[in-house]
């Protein structure tokens, strides 16, 4: 149902009324923004002294270093979680009961545990001196389990006839998987996989809490080191600068997901496998992921998003 079904095409009177509502809400939102800016200005957050540090190349270098650390952590965790996801998905789709059972237990357990609790455990027990590996392994275990569910539902969503036909011409299970099911499944799961990668990227900021020198931590230590100007500490500039970097990073990655999704929907050459199965699971899935990425709800079978 597109949203326009919910209301009649506005007539002259309704159009005026909508314009009034629009004006009022715009004014309200602008007033809120103005209030924030005024208050920040009033409490001296925009003093030049708090911001000039960002002009030094030394500072910029530190920000870049923090960014690279975050990206490195993300890259390792992403690669490992995709690998683990593939292994667990294969396990869950296995013909052998014990393997299937073990994989299911692992997936369900790691999806049910809060990621931060797992990172605390890894940091306290295994990687006491290497917060990076505590973070990476925590992210891998959690996101790997979620990716496994995405893979599995993607493969299950391929029309049944495909697998049956492949078996009928005498392929073995491995062949059926690698040459028939997986190539088709990848197309329908790609948006969900990328959305989960956005979650992974967002969750690298959990390193902040175990004092790992990623982007957010660099920001905080940076704000603490900047001497206060007229009694104002440099925390708000830090949040503005580093927050924008994070949001831009995640936006870039999630717009990639949206783009891939739109592309796969458009493709004419062989319609992509029906999204019903994936969509249903993916819709239910965000629950288990710490934070479902954007695009997930968009993969629903209900066609175009409301404007």
């Amino acid at each position: 149902m597109s949203s326009s079904v919910l209301y009649d095409v506005p007539g002259p009177k309704a159009r005026t009324r909508n314009r009034v509502y629009g004006l009022l809400s715009t004014v309200a939102i602008l007033a809120l923004v103005a209030f924030v800016i005024y208050k920040f200005n009033d409490t001296g957050q925009f003093q030049a002294g708090l911001w000039e540090a960002y002009e030094y190349t030394d500072t910029q270098q530190r920000i870049v270093d923090g960014l690279l650390t975050t990206l490195k952590t993300f890259a390792i965790a992403a690669a490992l979680s995709l690998a683990l996801g593939a292994v667990l998905a294969v396990g869950r789709l296995s013909d052998h009961k014990p393997v299937r059972w073990a994989a299911t237990v692992l997936v369900e357990f790691f999806r049910a545990m809060p990621l931060l609790i797992m990172i605390f455990l890894l940091f306290a027990a295994v990687f006491t001196t290497e917060p990076m590996w505590a973070l990476v392994i925590g992210l891998t275990l959690y996101n790997g389990s979620v990716q496994a569910e995405i893979f599995r539902s993607g493969i299950n969503a391929v029309p049944k006839g495909q697998g049956e036909a492949a078996y009928a011409i005498g392929l073995r299970k491995t062949q059926v998987m690698t040459s028939v099911l997986v190539p088709q499944a990848v197309r329908s799961m790609l948006p969900s996989i990328i959305s989960q990668l956005v979650v992974t990227l967002k969750d690298t900021s959990l390193g902040f809490i175990i004092l790992y020198e990623e982007l957010l931590f660099v920001g905080k230590s940076f704000a603490q080191q900047t001497p206060p100007v007229n009694g104002v500490y440099a925390f708000i500039p830090m949040v503005i600068v580093f927050g924008s970097i994070y949001i831009l990073l995640c936006l870039a990655l999630s717009s990639l997901a949206t783009w891939v999704e739109r592309r796969s929907r458009r493709s004419r050459k062989g319609t992509p496998p029906a999204l019903e199965g994936t969509a249903a699971t993916v819709m239910a899935d965000p629950g288990h992921s710490a934070a479902p990425g954007p695009g997930e709800t968009g993969t629903g079978p209900d066609g175009p998003k409301a404007p």
């Binding site: 909508n18 715009t26 209030f35 455990l121 629950g287 710490a290 709800t297």
Partner: protein, 216 residues
């Protein structure tokens, strides 16, 4: 077993801290999420833009960053005196509201078009159509995803332990640093506590689903 017996008061406090945090931020998230979903389908373009911006921005913000924004930003705005618990409720509630909004909106999309058309044809306004006809039906479809989102919220509430809120995550942190206990045993008890909450939540939602199920 020792860890639990020795520190039962701490565990109890942490457990109820997490329950309280989850309950209050769920409430905030549900209210805000429904409001934003209504904004996103409303006939007023300015509200649609606001709803979209809210969702896009919050879905792409790491929760830790949002916690920092709330704990550092509000005092700078002159809104002092909130204790860390309510700040955590705000951060968690706003963050989850973006996802709830999307769940409800896709629920709205699954309501048959005829329902809204019929409502309009008997002269209902947008507010009436949405509030009395479409949302009650959309809510039923959106129930399972909302349940999973609230479970995710429970798990995310562990982040509040990094910001001076007493809950299960902070119990683990305190006990980990206090020497003498086996770290894995602490972990097991914390894990069980979380499982109690998440199982209760998913049970509640299954009950609700059965209660509200309607033959179409």
């Amino acid at each position: 077993m020792n860890v639990l017996v020795d520190n039962f008061a701490m565990f109890r406090e942490g457990f109820f801290g997490t329950v309280e945090l989850t309950a209050l931020s769920s409430l905030l998230a549900l209210v805000l999420g429904t409001l934003m979903a209504a904004f996103r389908v409303s006939p007023v373009p300015a509200l649609r833009v606001f709803g979209t911006a809210w969702v896009t921005l919050l879905r792409n913000t790491p929760l830790v960053l949002l916690f920092l924004v709330v704990t550092l930003g509000l005092p700078a705005l002159g809104l002092k005196g909130w204790d860390s618990f309510w700040l955590a409720v705000m951060a968690l509630g706003c963050y989850t509201s973006a996802f709830i909004c999307e769940a409800i909106r896709s629920g709205i999309n699954t309501v048959p078009v005829g329902q809204a058309e019929a409502a309009r044809s008997i002269g209902m306004t947008f507010g009436q159509t949405l509030g009395q006809i479409v949302l009650p039906q959309a809510g039923r479809t959106a129930l399972p995803p909302i349940g999973s989102l609230l479970i995710a919220l429970t798990k995310n509430s562990a982040i509040a332990s990094g910001f001076n809120v007493t809950e299960l995550g902070s119990v683990q942190q305190t006990l980990n640093s206090a020497a003498g206990y086996n770290i894995y045993v602490i972990f097991v008890w914390i894990a069980i506590s979380y499982m109690i909450i998440t199982f209760a939540l998913s049970g509640l939602f299954r009950l609700l689903e059965n209660r509200l199920a309607v033959a179409r």
